[in-house]
Symmetry: C2
Subunit: 204 residues, 2 copies
Amino acid sequence: MKDISLPSTAGAVNKLIDSLGKLPGIGPKSAQRLAFYLMRAPEEQVLALSDTIRSIKNQISQCRICFNVADSELCPICQNTKRETNKICVVEQPQDILALEHVGVYRGYYHVLHGAISPTEGITSQNIRISELMSRLDNGQVDEIILATNPTTEGEATAMYLSRLITPLGIKVTRLARGLPFGTELEYADDVTLSRAMEGRQNF
Amino acid sequence: MKDISLPSTAGAVNKLIDSLGKLPGIGPKSAQRLAFYLMRAPEEQVLALSDTIRSIKNQISQCRICFNVADSELCPICQNTKRETNKICVVEQPQDILALEHVGVYRGYYHVLHGAISPTEGITSQNIRISELMSRLDNGQVDEIILATNPTTEGEATAMYLSRLITPLGIKVTRLARGLPFGTELEYADDVTLSRAMEGRQNF
C-alpha cells in the first residue's frame, strides 16, 4: 500500500484520505477529492453515509435459495413468483445478477456460486455453492441451466465442471454466447475472442 | 438525481449504492462496485471507514491564520516556523495547497480564500476570506503575494480584485504563470491558452 498521507494537511483529513484510498477504483487523487467534498458536505449527508456503511454488514444476508444478497430470508428475485421456474442461471457473484437483470431478457431464477473454481487460489468445487445448486435440481422442475460464469480461465473451468455434473441428469446445459462484443472493431479483437466468434458463427 | 436503485437486489444494498452514488466522481457503476466491495470487506475496515467519515466534521477546523484545514488551532504549515515569512500564496481551496505542496518549490505560507468572487453565484469579496488576508499584511513582514487562484473567470476576477487592493500597499503581487501545460501539443491548445503563452513568452 502506497503511503498517500500529506504532511501539509490535518491528520484527520489524511486518515480519511487513507481509508477512502483503500476502496477499489479510488486512487489517491479521487480519495483526496472525496475527503474534501465530505468536509464541506451537509452534516446529514455525511452522517447518513457513515450509518449506511456501518449497517451494511448487519443488514445484509444471503438468500436461502439462490445466495443473492437479501435483506430478508429470500432475495427480491426468489420472492417473485412470476418468473420462469424451469430455468436457473448460474453466476459467480451477486453483482452479475444486476448486470443480467439490467439487460432484462432473462425471466428465470438465479444461483450465485460466490466464486469460481481456481486451483491456483485453492478454491475447489467444495468452496463454492455447487452442492446447494445440485439440491435445487432435485425437484425435477428445472429443465435448463444457463452457465453465466465469467469468460475467464476460472469461470470456464467452473462451467466445464458444472456441465459434467448436470448433463447426466438430463437437464439442458447452455452458456452465454462467446463472440465479438458490440461496438468493437474486428481489427482489434484478441485471438481467443476472434476464434470463438468464428467457431460459434451463427446463421444470418 | 437519477434513480439508480435496482429492484433485483436487497434494499440495504440499494441504499448504500444510492449514498455512494451521491459522491462526486462516483457514477452508478462505481457505486455498485463499492457497495459490493464493502459487503465483502473485513468488518474492521468497514467500521473504520464509517467512523472516519462520521468524525471528519467534528475533528476538522480551519487554521486560525490561513484557513487551511487543521485539527488544532494552526494547520501543519502555519505551525512550521522554518518557512519563508515574507511570502503568502493565495489559493481558493485547501486542496490547492496540497497540489502546490506536492510540487514542493514554494516555501512560504498560504492563505485560503474558501471560494472566488462570482457575481453569478452571488459570491462577493465579503463572502471569502479577503479581509483576513488584508489583516495578515498589517505587520509589514510580507513583501510578496502570489495569487494562485484558478485560471477561470471567477479566479481571474478574484486575482484582479486582490491585485488592486494589495498593490497600493507597496507589496509585490505576482501570479502563477499562464502558458502551455506540459505534455500537450500546440496543435490542440485552446485559443486563450495559446494567446497567453504568446503574450507571456519568456527568454530562452
